[in-house]
Protein backbone atom coordinates (compact mmCIF):
# COMPACT_ATOMS: atom_id res chain seq x y z
CA UNK A 1 0.00 0.00 0.00
CA UNK A 2 1.25 3.51 -0.79
CA UNK A 3 2.76 5.52 2.06
CA UNK A 4 0.50 7.91 3.94
CA UNK A 5 2.39 10.94 2.58
CA UNK A 6 1.89 9.74 -0.98
CA UNK A 7 -1.80 9.26 -0.28
CA UNK A 8 -2.04 12.79 1.14
CA UNK A 9 -0.27 14.19 -1.89
CA UNK A 10 -2.62 12.32 -4.23
CA UNK A 11 -5.50 13.73 -2.18
CA UNK A 12 -4.02 17.22 -2.50
CA UNK A 13 -3.60 16.86 -6.27
CA UNK A 14 -7.19 15.64 -6.63
CA UNK A 15 -8.52 18.40 -4.36
CA UNK A 16 -6.76 21.33 -6.03
CA UNK A 17 -7.63 19.96 -9.48
CA UNK A 18 -11.24 19.53 -8.37
CA UNK A 19 -11.34 23.16 -7.21
CA UNK A 20 -10.00 24.32 -10.57
CA UNK A 21 -12.45 22.15 -12.52
CA UNK A 22 -15.31 23.35 -10.33
CA UNK A 23 -14.38 26.99 -10.92
CA UNK A 24 -14.20 26.42 -14.69
CA UNK A 25 -17.49 24.47 -14.66
CA UNK A 26 -19.28 27.23 -12.75
CA UNK A 27 -17.85 29.79 -15.19
CA UNK A 28 -19.19 27.87 -18.18
CA UNK A 29 -22.57 27.19 -16.54
CA UNK A 30 -22.96 30.87 -15.70
CA UNK A 31 -23.52 31.61 -19.40
CA UNK A 32 -26.83 29.80 -19.27
CA UNK A 33 -28.06 32.00 -16.40
CA UNK A 34 -29.78 35.39 -16.44
CA UNK A 35 -27.32 38.29 -16.24
CA UNK A 36 -27.88 39.17 -12.56
CA UNK A 37 -27.67 35.56 -11.36
CA UNK A 38 -24.53 34.95 -13.42
CA UNK A 39 -22.42 37.95 -12.52
CA UNK A 40 -21.09 37.10 -9.06
CA UNK A 41 -20.51 33.37 -9.80
CA UNK A 42 -18.63 34.36 -12.96
CA UNK A 43 -16.36 36.81 -11.13
CA UNK A 44 -15.71 34.43 -8.24
CA UNK A 45 -14.98 31.46 -10.53
CA UNK A 46 -12.43 33.52 -12.54
CA UNK A 47 -10.78 34.71 -9.32
CA UNK A 48 -10.71 31.19 -7.84
CA UNK A 49 -9.36 29.53 -10.99
CA UNK A 50 -6.59 32.11 -11.45
CA UNK A 51 -5.45 31.78 -7.83
CA UNK A 52 -5.71 27.99 -7.85
CA UNK A 53 -3.54 27.57 -10.94
CA UNK A 54 -0.18 28.29 -9.24
CA UNK A 55 -1.29 26.24 -6.21
CA UNK A 56 -2.02 23.27 -8.50
CA UNK A 57 1.30 23.59 -10.35
CA UNK A 58 3.17 23.82 -7.05
CA UNK A 59 1.51 20.67 -5.76
CA UNK A 60 2.24 18.70 -8.94
CA UNK A 61 5.92 19.69 -8.65
CA UNK A 62 6.27 18.92 -4.93
CA UNK A 63 8.17 15.80 -3.98
CA UNK A 64 6.83 13.56 -1.28
CA UNK A 65 9.07 13.82 1.76
CA UNK A 66 9.31 11.70 4.83
CA UNK A 67 7.14 8.93 6.09
CA UNK A 68 4.71 9.03 9.00
CA UNK A 69 3.54 6.04 11.00
CA UNK A 70 -0.18 6.12 11.56
CA UNK A 71 -2.56 4.01 13.62
CA UNK A 72 -5.59 3.89 11.35
CA UNK A 73 -4.84 5.29 7.87
CA UNK A 74 -7.27 7.74 6.32
CA UNK A 75 -8.30 5.38 3.52
CA UNK A 76 -9.50 2.83 6.09
CA UNK A 77 -11.49 5.45 8.01
CA UNK A 78 -12.95 6.68 4.71
CA UNK A 79 -14.13 3.18 3.79
CA UNK A 80 -15.62 2.72 7.26
CA UNK A 81 -17.47 6.06 7.07
CA UNK A 82 -18.98 5.26 3.69
CA UNK A 83 -19.87 1.80 4.98
CA UNK A 84 -21.56 3.46 7.96
CA UNK A 85 -23.52 5.76 5.65
CA UNK A 86 -24.94 2.83 3.65
CA UNK A 87 -25.56 0.84 6.83
CA UNK A 88 -27.56 3.82 8.19
CA UNK A 89 -29.77 3.69 5.11
CA UNK A 90 -30.20 -0.10 5.24
CA UNK A 91 -30.21 -0.97 8.94
CA UNK A 92 -30.93 2.31 10.70
CA UNK A 93 -29.12 4.23 13.41
CA UNK A 94 -28.84 1.68 16.22
CA UNK A 95 -27.31 -1.29 14.42
CA UNK A 96 -25.01 0.77 12.20
CA UNK A 97 -23.73 2.84 15.16
CA UNK A 98 -23.13 -0.26 17.30
CA UNK A 99 -21.07 -1.73 14.44
CA UNK A 100 -19.19 1.52 13.73
CA UNK A 101 -18.03 1.93 17.30
CA UNK A 102 -16.90 -1.69 17.59
CA UNK A 103 -14.99 -1.57 14.29
CA UNK A 104 -13.26 1.77 15.05
CA UNK A 105 -12.33 0.78 18.59
CA UNK A 106 -10.88 -2.57 17.50
CA UNK A 107 -8.92 -1.00 14.65
CA UNK A 108 -7.47 1.54 17.05
CA UNK A 109 -6.15 -1.22 19.23
CA UNK A 110 -8.83 -1.83 21.84
CA UNK A 111 -8.23 -5.49 22.66
CA UNK A 112 -10.80 -5.91 25.42
CA UNK A 113 -14.08 -7.09 23.86
CA UNK A 114 -16.12 -6.32 26.95
CA UNK A 115 -14.90 -2.72 27.04
CA UNK A 116 -15.51 -2.37 23.32
CA UNK A 117 -19.06 -3.67 23.47
CA UNK A 118 -19.78 -1.65 26.60
CA UNK A 119 -18.61 1.55 24.90
CA UNK A 120 -20.65 0.72 21.83
CA UNK A 121 -23.87 -0.01 23.74
CA UNK A 122 -23.52 2.96 26.11
CA UNK A 123 -22.70 5.51 23.42
CA UNK A 124 -25.42 4.31 21.06
CA UNK A 125 -27.97 4.06 23.87
CA UNK A 126 -27.29 7.45 25.41
CA UNK A 127 -27.22 9.28 22.09
CA UNK A 128 -30.39 7.51 20.95
CA UNK A 129 -32.17 8.51 24.15
CA UNK A 130 -30.99 12.12 24.10
CA UNK A 131 -31.71 12.79 20.43
CA UNK A 132 -34.88 10.72 20.05
CA UNK A 133 -36.56 11.24 23.42
CA UNK A 134 -35.28 14.65 24.53
CA UNK A 135 -34.61 16.44 21.26
CA UNK A 136 -37.43 14.64 19.40
CA UNK A 137 -35.25 13.91 16.37
CA UNK A 138 -36.55 11.01 14.26
CA UNK A 139 -33.39 8.93 13.74
CA UNK A 140 -33.01 6.69 10.66
CA UNK A 141 -34.78 3.36 11.08
CA UNK A 142 -33.33 1.78 7.93
CA UNK A 143 -35.02 0.31 4.88
CA UNK A 144 -34.85 -3.24 6.24
CA UNK A 145 -36.28 -2.66 9.70
CA UNK A 146 -38.45 0.39 9.45
CA UNK A 147 -40.62 2.61 7.27
Amino acid sequence: MASIEKIRKIGDVIFSTFVFIMAVTFFIMSFSLPKNSALMPRLVSIFTAILDLPVMINIWRQRTQGEEKVKVPVYITTLILFGYYFALILFGYIISSLLLIVVIARLMGQKNWIATIALSVLLTGITYYVFKMLFNVELPKGIIFGA
Partner: protein, 500 residues
Amino acid sequence: MWPNILEGLGAVLQLNSILIFMLATVIGVIIGILPGLGPTFALALFLPFTFYMNNASAMIFLVVLYCSTVYGGSITSILLNVPGTVGSVATCFDGYPMAKQGKGGMALVAMTIGSSIAGLIGVVGLITLAPLLVNVSLLLGPSEYFMLALMGISLVAVASKGDTIRGLVMGGLGLLLSFVGRDVVSGFLRFDFGLRSLQSGISFIPVSIGLFAISQAIILAEEGSSISQAAIETKNEFLSGLKAVIKNWVTVVRSSIIGLVIGIMPGIGISISNFLAYLIEKRVSKDPDSFGKGNIRGVLAPESANKATVAGELIPAFSLGIPGGSTSAIFLVGMTIHGLRPGADLYTTNATIMSIVYWAFIIGQLSYLVIGLFFSKPLSKITKISNTILVPVILILSILGAFSFQNSITDVFIAIIFGILGYIMHKRRYPVACLIIGMVLGPIMESNFQRALLLSDGSYMIFITSPLSLIFLLIALASLIVPPVLEKMKKRNMKADATL
Protein backbone atom coordinates in the same frame (compact mmCIF):
# COMPACT_ATOMS: atom_id res chain seq x y z
CA MET B 1 -35.52 53.98 34.16
CA TRP B 2 -34.17 53.22 37.66
CA PRO B 3 -37.46 51.75 39.00
CA ASN B 4 -37.47 49.44 35.93
CA ILE B 5 -33.88 48.37 36.59
CA LEU B 6 -34.73 47.43 40.18
CA GLU B 7 -37.91 45.62 39.12
CA GLY B 8 -35.89 43.70 36.55
CA LEU B 9 -33.29 42.75 39.16
CA GLY B 10 -36.01 41.64 41.55
CA ALA B 11 -37.50 39.37 38.88
CA VAL B 12 -34.21 37.63 38.02
CA LEU B 13 -33.33 36.99 41.65
CA GLN B 14 -36.45 34.95 42.33
CA LEU B 15 -36.03 31.21 42.93
CA ASN B 16 -37.95 30.35 39.76
CA SER B 17 -35.59 32.51 37.70
CA ILE B 18 -32.46 31.08 39.33
CA LEU B 19 -33.62 27.56 38.46
CA ILE B 20 -34.18 28.67 34.87
CA PHE B 21 -30.67 30.18 34.80
CA MET B 22 -29.12 26.92 35.94
CA LEU B 23 -31.18 24.77 33.56
CA ALA B 24 -30.51 26.97 30.54
CA THR B 25 -26.77 27.15 31.35
CA VAL B 26 -26.36 23.38 31.62
CA ILE B 27 -28.41 22.70 28.48
CA GLY B 28 -26.60 25.44 26.59
CA VAL B 29 -23.10 24.28 27.53
CA ILE B 30 -23.89 20.66 26.63
CA ILE B 31 -25.39 21.62 23.27
CA GLY B 32 -22.49 23.98 22.63
CA ILE B 33 -20.03 21.16 23.16
CA LEU B 34 -21.76 18.94 20.59
CA PRO B 35 -20.27 19.62 17.16
CA GLY B 36 -22.45 21.42 14.63
CA LEU B 37 -25.42 22.08 16.89
CA GLY B 38 -24.67 25.53 18.29
CA PRO B 39 -26.89 28.39 19.47
CA THR B 40 -29.15 28.41 16.41
CA PHE B 41 -30.06 24.77 16.97
CA ALA B 42 -30.44 25.33 20.72
CA LEU B 43 -32.77 28.31 20.37
CA ALA B 44 -34.79 26.72 17.58
CA LEU B 45 -35.21 23.51 19.57
CA PHE B 46 -36.17 25.08 22.88
CA LEU B 47 -38.21 28.03 21.66
CA PRO B 48 -41.46 26.00 21.72
CA PHE B 49 -40.82 25.11 25.39
CA THR B 50 -40.92 28.81 26.24
CA PHE B 51 -44.56 29.05 25.12
CA TYR B 52 -45.52 27.60 28.50
CA MET B 53 -43.48 30.20 30.41
CA ASN B 54 -44.36 33.79 31.26
CA ASN B 55 -42.57 36.56 29.32
CA ALA B 56 -39.88 37.18 31.94
CA SER B 57 -38.99 33.47 32.35
CA ALA B 58 -39.00 32.93 28.60
CA MET B 59 -36.59 35.81 27.99
CA ILE B 60 -34.28 34.69 30.80
CA PHE B 61 -34.23 31.16 29.39
CA LEU B 62 -33.51 32.25 25.81
CA VAL B 63 -30.82 34.77 26.77
CA VAL B 64 -28.93 32.38 29.03
CA LEU B 65 -29.29 29.51 26.56
CA TYR B 66 -27.83 31.69 23.80
CA CYS B 67 -24.86 32.85 25.88
CA SER B 68 -24.01 29.44 27.33
CA THR B 69 -24.23 27.62 23.99
CA VAL B 70 -21.69 29.98 22.48
CA TYR B 71 -19.51 29.42 25.55
CA GLY B 72 -19.87 25.61 25.28
CA GLY B 73 -18.66 25.69 21.67
CA SER B 74 -15.44 27.28 22.83
CA ILE B 75 -14.65 24.39 25.19
CA THR B 76 -14.25 21.87 22.40
CA SER B 77 -12.27 24.38 20.34
CA ILE B 78 -9.60 24.31 23.02
CA LEU B 79 -9.74 20.68 24.09
CA LEU B 80 -10.48 18.89 20.82
CA ASN B 81 -9.72 21.39 18.02
CA VAL B 82 -13.40 21.08 17.13
CA PRO B 83 -15.19 24.44 17.23
CA GLY B 84 -18.76 24.13 18.42
CA THR B 85 -19.76 27.22 16.45
CA VAL B 86 -18.22 29.21 13.59
CA GLY B 87 -17.47 31.92 16.16
CA SER B 88 -14.94 29.67 17.93
CA VAL B 89 -12.83 28.67 14.95
CA ALA B 90 -10.00 31.12 15.63
CA THR B 91 -9.85 29.87 19.24
CA CYS B 92 -8.58 26.51 17.93
CA PHE B 93 -5.42 28.12 16.55
CA ASP B 94 -3.88 28.61 19.99
CA GLY B 95 -6.33 26.86 22.29
CA TYR B 96 -5.67 23.37 20.94
CA PRO B 97 -1.88 23.73 20.99
CA MET B 98 -2.24 24.76 24.63
CA ALA B 99 -4.30 21.63 25.33
CA LYS B 100 -1.65 19.48 23.65
CA GLN B 101 0.93 21.05 25.94
CA GLY B 102 -1.12 20.01 28.96
CA LYS B 103 -2.38 23.56 29.57
CA GLY B 104 -5.97 22.90 28.55
CA GLY B 105 -7.28 23.63 32.03
CA MET B 106 -5.53 26.97 32.23
CA ALA B 107 -6.78 27.88 28.76
CA LEU B 108 -10.34 26.98 29.78
CA VAL B 109 -10.15 29.06 32.96
CA ALA B 110 -8.70 32.05 31.12
CA MET B 111 -11.27 31.69 28.34
CA THR B 112 -14.13 31.44 30.86
CA ILE B 113 -13.09 34.51 32.85
CA GLY B 114 -12.25 36.51 29.71
CA SER B 115 -15.57 35.52 28.12
CA SER B 116 -17.55 36.63 31.16
CA ILE B 117 -15.82 40.01 31.21
CA ALA B 118 -16.35 40.39 27.46
CA GLY B 119 -19.99 39.41 27.81
CA LEU B 120 -20.45 42.07 30.48
CA ILE B 121 -18.79 44.67 28.23
CA GLY B 122 -21.16 43.55 25.48
CA VAL B 123 -24.17 44.03 27.76
CA VAL B 124 -22.98 47.51 28.73
CA GLY B 125 -22.73 48.26 25.02
CA LEU B 126 -26.18 46.84 24.43
CA ILE B 127 -27.70 49.03 27.15
CA THR B 128 -25.87 52.27 26.54
CA LEU B 129 -24.82 52.37 22.91
CA ALA B 130 -27.79 50.83 21.10
CA PRO B 131 -29.45 54.13 20.13
CA LEU B 132 -26.15 55.74 19.05
CA LEU B 133 -24.57 52.85 17.18
CA VAL B 134 -27.71 51.94 15.30
CA ASN B 135 -27.37 55.31 13.53
CA VAL B 136 -23.92 54.28 12.33
CA SER B 137 -25.16 50.98 10.95
CA LEU B 138 -27.78 52.90 8.97
CA LEU B 139 -24.88 54.50 7.06
CA LEU B 140 -24.04 51.11 5.62
CA GLY B 141 -25.71 50.48 2.31
CA PRO B 142 -25.39 47.53 -0.08
CA SER B 143 -22.01 48.58 -1.51
CA GLU B 144 -20.58 49.00 2.00
CA TYR B 145 -21.90 45.60 3.09
CA PHE B 146 -20.45 43.96 0.01
CA MET B 147 -17.02 45.46 0.66
CA LEU B 148 -17.28 44.61 4.36
CA ALA B 149 -17.90 40.96 3.50
CA LEU B 150 -15.03 41.03 0.98
CA MET B 151 -12.80 42.53 3.65
CA GLY B 152 -13.94 39.79 5.99
CA ILE B 153 -12.82 37.05 3.61
CA SER B 154 -9.43 38.63 2.99
CA LEU B 155 -8.83 39.17 6.72
CA VAL B 156 -9.75 35.58 7.47
CA ALA B 157 -7.41 34.37 4.71
CA VAL B 158 -4.57 36.38 6.26
CA ALA B 159 -5.40 35.43 9.87
CA SER B 160 -5.82 31.70 9.28
CA LYS B 161 -2.99 29.29 9.62
CA GLY B 162 -1.53 28.21 6.29
CA ASP B 163 -0.92 29.86 2.97
CA THR B 164 -2.84 33.11 2.27
CA ILE B 165 -3.23 32.25 -1.43
CA ARG B 166 -4.71 28.90 -0.49
CA GLY B 167 -6.95 30.75 1.98
CA LEU B 168 -8.29 32.96 -0.80
CA VAL B 169 -8.84 29.89 -2.99
CA MET B 170 -10.81 28.33 -0.16
CA GLY B 171 -12.77 31.54 0.28
CA GLY B 172 -13.57 31.40 -3.43
CA LEU B 173 -14.59 27.75 -3.15
CA GLY B 174 -16.85 28.61 -0.21
CA LEU B 175 -18.47 31.37 -2.23
CA LEU B 176 -19.02 29.01 -5.18
CA LEU B 177 -20.62 26.43 -2.87
CA SER B 178 -22.93 29.14 -1.51
CA PHE B 179 -24.18 29.84 -5.05
CA VAL B 180 -25.56 26.30 -5.41
CA GLY B 181 -29.34 26.31 -5.23
CA ARG B 182 -31.46 29.39 -5.60
CA ASP B 183 -30.18 32.89 -6.30
CA VAL B 184 -30.74 34.84 -3.06
CA VAL B 185 -32.29 37.78 -4.92
CA SER B 186 -34.19 36.41 -7.91
CA GLY B 187 -34.77 32.85 -6.66
CA PHE B 188 -33.44 31.46 -9.97
CA LEU B 189 -32.27 27.86 -9.66
CA ARG B 190 -28.61 27.35 -10.58
CA PHE B 191 -25.65 24.95 -10.27
CA ASP B 192 -27.83 22.08 -9.04
CA PHE B 193 -26.49 19.70 -11.73
CA GLY B 194 -30.00 18.26 -12.07
CA LEU B 195 -29.96 16.87 -8.52
CA ARG B 196 -33.02 17.50 -6.36
CA SER B 197 -30.93 17.34 -3.19
CA LEU B 198 -28.92 20.36 -4.34
CA GLN B 199 -31.91 22.53 -5.19
CA SER B 200 -32.12 23.89 -1.66
CA GLY B 201 -28.39 24.55 -1.68
CA ILE B 202 -25.55 23.12 0.36
CA SER B 203 -26.03 23.90 4.00
CA PHE B 204 -22.98 25.03 5.90
CA ILE B 205 -23.91 23.07 9.03
CA PRO B 206 -23.06 19.58 7.63
CA VAL B 207 -20.13 21.13 5.74
CA SER B 208 -18.69 22.64 8.92
CA ILE B 209 -19.32 19.41 10.88
CA GLY B 210 -17.41 17.53 8.23
CA LEU B 211 -14.57 20.04 7.89
CA PHE B 212 -13.96 20.43 11.61
CA ALA B 213 -15.36 17.46 13.51
CA ILE B 214 -15.19 14.45 11.21
CA SER B 215 -11.82 15.46 9.80
CA GLN B 216 -10.52 15.81 13.36
CA ALA B 217 -11.79 12.31 14.16
CA ILE B 218 -9.91 10.96 11.12
CA ILE B 219 -6.73 12.74 12.29
CA LEU B 220 -7.11 11.42 15.85
CA ALA B 221 -7.65 7.90 14.47
CA GLU B 222 -4.33 8.25 12.60
CA GLU B 223 -2.53 9.54 15.69
CA GLY B 224 -3.87 6.98 18.15
CA SER B 225 -2.92 7.46 21.83
CA SER B 226 -4.56 10.63 23.27
CA ILE B 227 -4.69 14.32 22.39
CA SER B 228 -2.25 15.39 25.08
CA GLN B 229 0.90 13.41 25.64
CA ALA B 230 2.12 16.07 28.05
CA ALA B 231 1.25 15.91 31.73
CA ILE B 232 -1.77 18.04 32.46
CA GLU B 233 -0.91 21.06 34.55
CA THR B 234 -3.65 20.99 37.15
CA LYS B 235 -1.77 22.80 39.87
CA ASN B 236 -3.02 26.35 40.22
CA GLU B 237 -4.75 26.28 36.85
CA PHE B 238 -7.35 28.67 38.25
CA LEU B 239 -4.68 31.10 39.42
CA SER B 240 -2.65 30.85 36.23
CA GLY B 241 -5.80 31.37 34.14
CA LEU B 242 -6.82 34.37 36.23
CA LYS B 243 -3.32 35.82 36.06
CA ALA B 244 -3.34 35.42 32.28
CA VAL B 245 -6.56 37.42 32.03
CA ILE B 246 -5.31 40.16 34.38
CA LYS B 247 -2.01 40.38 32.54
CA ASN B 248 -3.78 40.61 29.18
CA TRP B 249 -6.73 42.79 30.21
CA VAL B 250 -6.05 45.09 27.26
CA THR B 251 -6.56 42.15 24.89
CA VAL B 252 -9.89 41.33 26.52
CA VAL B 253 -11.18 44.91 26.40
CA ARG B 254 -9.90 45.63 22.88
CA SER B 255 -11.33 42.41 21.46
CA SER B 256 -14.64 42.95 23.25
CA ILE B 257 -15.00 46.34 21.60
CA ILE B 258 -14.14 44.83 18.21
CA GLY B 259 -16.75 42.12 18.80
CA LEU B 260 -19.36 44.65 19.87
CA VAL B 261 -18.83 46.87 16.82
CA ILE B 262 -18.88 43.90 14.41
CA GLY B 263 -21.98 42.52 16.09
CA ILE B 264 -23.87 45.72 15.43
CA MET B 265 -23.47 45.30 11.67
CA PRO B 266 -26.26 42.94 10.64
CA GLY B 267 -25.24 39.75 8.89
CA ILE B 268 -21.55 39.80 9.74
CA GLY B 269 -21.51 38.52 13.30
CA ILE B 270 -19.36 36.05 15.21
CA SER B 271 -18.11 34.37 12.03
CA ILE B 272 -15.90 37.42 11.40
CA SER B 273 -15.40 39.00 14.79
CA ASN B 274 -13.32 36.14 16.21
CA PHE B 275 -10.93 36.23 13.22
CA LEU B 276 -10.66 39.99 13.15
CA ALA B 277 -9.85 40.13 16.85
CA TYR B 278 -7.28 37.33 16.46
CA LEU B 279 -5.61 39.07 13.52
CA ILE B 280 -5.44 42.43 15.25
CA GLU B 281 -4.04 40.81 18.39
CA LYS B 282 -1.36 39.07 16.37
CA ARG B 283 -0.50 42.29 14.54
CA VAL B 284 -0.05 44.35 17.70
CA SER B 285 1.85 41.62 19.51
CA LYS B 286 5.59 41.98 20.08
CA ASP B 287 5.87 38.25 19.46
CA PRO B 288 3.55 37.42 16.54
CA ASP B 289 5.41 34.21 15.73
CA SER B 290 4.22 32.71 19.00
CA PHE B 291 0.62 32.83 17.76
CA GLY B 292 -0.59 29.48 16.55
CA LYS B 293 1.71 27.71 19.02
CA GLY B 294 -0.20 28.15 22.26
CA ASN B 295 -0.28 31.86 23.02
CA ILE B 296 -3.01 32.62 25.56
CA ARG B 297 -3.77 35.91 23.83
CA GLY B 298 -4.68 33.87 20.75
CA VAL B 299 -7.44 32.36 22.91
CA LEU B 300 -8.52 35.48 24.79
CA ALA B 301 -8.87 37.68 21.69
CA PRO B 302 -11.32 35.59 19.61
CA GLU B 303 -13.25 34.48 22.68
CA SER B 304 -13.72 38.01 24.00
CA ALA B 305 -14.80 39.16 20.56
CA ASN B 306 -17.36 36.44 20.01
CA LYS B 307 -18.93 36.87 23.46
CA ALA B 308 -19.29 40.63 22.95
CA THR B 309 -20.72 39.99 19.47
CA VAL B 310 -23.52 37.93 21.03
CA ALA B 311 -24.77 41.10 22.74
CA GLY B 312 -23.79 43.34 19.81
CA GLU B 313 -25.93 41.31 17.37
CA LEU B 314 -28.98 42.10 19.46
CA ILE B 315 -28.53 45.87 19.17
CA PRO B 316 -29.94 46.16 15.61
CA ALA B 317 -32.37 43.34 16.49
CA PHE B 318 -33.85 45.21 19.46
CA SER B 319 -33.75 48.68 17.94
CA LEU B 320 -34.67 48.08 14.30
CA GLY B 321 -35.93 44.51 14.17
CA ILE B 322 -32.96 43.60 11.95
CA PRO B 323 -31.33 40.43 13.29
CA GLY B 324 -27.54 40.37 13.39
CA GLY B 325 -27.48 36.69 12.41
CA SER B 326 -29.58 33.53 12.27
CA THR B 327 -29.44 33.06 16.03
CA SER B 328 -30.58 36.59 16.80
CA ALA B 329 -33.31 36.07 14.17
CA ILE B 330 -34.70 33.17 16.18
CA PHE B 331 -34.32 35.23 19.33
CA LEU B 332 -36.39 37.98 17.70
CA VAL B 333 -39.06 35.42 16.81
CA GLY B 334 -39.12 34.38 20.47
CA MET B 335 -39.55 37.98 21.57
CA THR B 336 -42.34 38.59 19.07
CA ILE B 337 -44.18 35.46 20.18
CA HIS B 338 -44.09 36.80 23.71
CA GLY B 339 -45.55 40.12 22.62
CA LEU B 340 -42.33 42.13 22.52
CA ARG B 341 -42.08 44.24 19.36
CA PRO B 342 -38.64 45.59 18.40
CA GLY B 343 -38.27 49.36 18.34
CA ALA B 344 -39.20 52.19 20.65
CA ASP B 345 -41.85 50.09 22.43
CA LEU B 346 -39.17 47.89 23.98
CA TYR B 347 -37.73 50.83 25.86
CA THR B 348 -41.07 52.37 26.87
CA THR B 349 -44.05 50.02 27.24
CA ASN B 350 -41.87 46.97 27.84
CA ALA B 351 -39.08 48.63 29.76
CA THR B 352 -39.37 46.20 32.68
CA ILE B 353 -39.02 43.14 30.42
CA MET B 354 -36.03 44.77 28.74
CA SER B 355 -34.38 45.33 32.11
CA ILE B 356 -34.99 41.63 32.85
CA VAL B 357 -33.29 40.79 29.53
CA TYR B 358 -30.29 42.93 30.47
CA TRP B 359 -30.04 41.41 33.93
CA ALA B 360 -30.39 37.94 32.38
CA PHE B 361 -27.40 38.73 30.16
CA ILE B 362 -25.38 39.92 33.15
CA ILE B 363 -26.25 37.00 35.39
CA GLY B 364 -25.95 34.61 32.41
CA GLN B 365 -22.26 35.55 32.15
CA LEU B 366 -21.85 34.77 35.86
CA SER B 367 -23.72 31.46 35.63
CA TYR B 368 -21.47 30.01 32.93
CA LEU B 369 -18.48 31.51 34.75
CA VAL B 370 -19.35 29.40 37.79
CA ILE B 371 -20.08 26.26 35.74
CA GLY B 372 -16.98 26.77 33.60
CA LEU B 373 -14.61 27.28 36.54
CA PHE B 374 -16.14 24.38 38.43
CA PHE B 375 -15.79 22.00 35.51
CA SER B 376 -12.59 23.22 33.86
CA LYS B 377 -10.40 20.75 35.76
CA PRO B 378 -12.40 17.61 34.90
CA LEU B 379 -13.04 18.90 31.37
CA SER B 380 -9.33 19.40 30.73
CA LYS B 381 -8.85 15.68 31.38
CA ILE B 382 -10.68 15.00 28.13
CA THR B 383 -7.32 15.53 26.44
CA LYS B 384 -6.00 12.47 28.28
CA ILE B 385 -8.84 10.18 27.23
CA SER B 386 -7.70 7.56 24.78
CA ASN B 387 -8.50 8.39 21.17
CA THR B 388 -9.98 4.88 20.99
CA ILE B 389 -12.92 6.37 22.93
CA LEU B 390 -12.83 9.92 21.59
CA VAL B 391 -12.89 9.01 17.89
CA PRO B 392 -16.15 7.01 17.97
CA VAL B 393 -17.73 9.65 20.25
CA ILE B 394 -16.84 12.50 17.88
CA LEU B 395 -17.96 10.51 14.83
CA ILE B 396 -21.33 9.52 16.29
CA LEU B 397 -22.08 13.01 17.59
CA SER B 398 -21.02 14.53 14.27
CA ILE B 399 -23.28 12.23 12.28
CA LEU B 400 -26.15 12.99 14.65
CA GLY B 401 -25.46 16.72 14.41
CA ALA B 402 -25.43 16.62 10.61
CA PHE B 403 -28.59 14.50 10.46
CA SER B 404 -30.54 16.48 13.07
CA PHE B 405 -30.17 19.77 11.27
CA GLN B 406 -32.73 18.97 8.56
CA ASN B 407 -33.54 15.30 9.34
CA SER B 408 -31.74 14.53 6.11
CA ILE B 409 -29.50 11.54 5.34
CA THR B 410 -28.03 13.60 2.45
CA ASP B 411 -26.53 15.96 5.03
CA VAL B 412 -24.74 12.95 6.57
CA PHE B 413 -23.22 12.17 3.17
CA ILE B 414 -22.18 15.80 2.72
CA ALA B 415 -20.61 15.82 6.17
CA ILE B 416 -18.61 12.65 5.40
CA ILE B 417 -17.38 14.03 2.04
CA PHE B 418 -16.31 17.27 3.67
CA GLY B 419 -14.78 15.31 6.52
CA ILE B 420 -12.40 13.67 4.05
CA LEU B 421 -11.77 17.00 2.29
CA GLY B 422 -11.20 18.62 5.66
CA TYR B 423 -8.60 15.98 6.49
CA ILE B 424 -6.70 16.78 3.27
CA MET B 425 -7.04 20.50 3.96
CA HIS B 426 -5.69 20.15 7.52
CA LYS B 427 -2.74 18.06 6.40
CA ARG B 428 -1.88 20.13 3.33
CA ARG B 429 -2.08 23.67 4.75
CA TYR B 430 -5.40 24.85 3.34
CA PRO B 431 -7.10 27.20 5.81
CA VAL B 432 -10.34 25.39 6.49
CA ALA B 433 -12.02 28.38 8.09
CA CYS B 434 -11.88 30.36 4.83
CA LEU B 435 -14.14 27.89 3.11
CA ILE B 436 -16.75 28.18 5.84
CA ILE B 437 -16.53 31.97 5.90
CA GLY B 438 -16.96 32.02 2.11
CA MET B 439 -20.13 29.94 2.45
CA VAL B 440 -21.50 32.12 5.26
CA LEU B 441 -20.74 35.43 3.56
CA GLY B 442 -21.67 34.31 0.02
CA PRO B 443 -25.38 35.15 0.23
CA ILE B 444 -24.62 38.50 1.95
CA MET B 445 -22.04 39.41 -0.67
CA GLU B 446 -24.20 38.47 -3.63
CA SER B 447 -27.43 40.06 -2.43
CA ASN B 448 -25.66 43.32 -1.58
CA PHE B 449 -23.67 43.22 -4.82
CA GLN B 450 -26.84 42.94 -6.86
CA ARG B 451 -28.63 45.60 -4.82
CA ALA B 452 -25.69 47.99 -5.14
CA LEU B 453 -25.70 47.60 -8.92
CA LEU B 454 -29.46 48.17 -8.99
CA LEU B 455 -29.03 51.41 -7.04
CA SER B 456 -26.25 52.62 -9.33
CA ASP B 457 -28.01 51.56 -12.57
CA GLY B 458 -25.31 49.01 -13.25
CA SER B 459 -22.32 51.29 -12.55
CA TYR B 460 -19.47 49.60 -10.65
CA MET B 461 -18.24 53.02 -9.49
CA ILE B 462 -20.63 52.75 -6.54
CA PHE B 463 -18.14 50.42 -4.87
CA ILE B 464 -15.41 53.06 -4.80
CA THR B 465 -17.28 56.34 -4.72
CA SER B 466 -18.76 55.56 -1.32
CA PRO B 467 -16.09 56.54 1.28
CA LEU B 468 -16.84 53.64 3.67
CA SER B 469 -16.90 51.17 0.81
CA LEU B 470 -13.52 52.45 -0.41
CA ILE B 471 -12.07 52.23 3.10
CA PHE B 472 -13.15 48.58 3.46
CA LEU B 473 -11.69 47.80 0.02
CA LEU B 474 -8.38 49.45 0.89
CA ILE B 475 -8.21 47.54 4.19
CA ALA B 476 -8.84 44.28 2.30
CA LEU B 477 -6.11 45.05 -0.24
CA ALA B 478 -3.69 46.30 2.41
CA SER B 479 -4.15 43.15 4.51
CA LEU B 480 -3.21 41.05 1.48
CA ILE B 481 -0.38 43.15 0.05
CA VAL B 482 1.35 44.70 3.06
CA PRO B 483 2.38 41.58 5.04
CA PRO B 484 4.25 39.83 2.17
CA VAL B 485 5.90 43.13 1.17
CA LEU B 486 7.04 43.72 4.75
CA GLU B 487 8.24 40.13 4.94
CA LYS B 488 10.31 40.57 1.78
CA MET B 489 11.80 43.82 3.06
CA LYS B 490 12.62 42.14 6.37
CA LYS B 491 14.39 39.26 4.59
CA ARG B 492 16.29 41.72 2.39
CA ASN B 493 17.46 43.67 5.44
CA MET B 494 18.52 40.48 7.21
CA LYS B 495 20.49 39.42 4.13
CA ALA B 496 22.15 42.82 3.96
CA ASP B 497 23.03 42.64 7.67
CA ALA B 498 24.47 39.15 7.20
CA THR B 499 26.77 40.23 4.33
CA LEU B 500 28.02 43.17 6.41
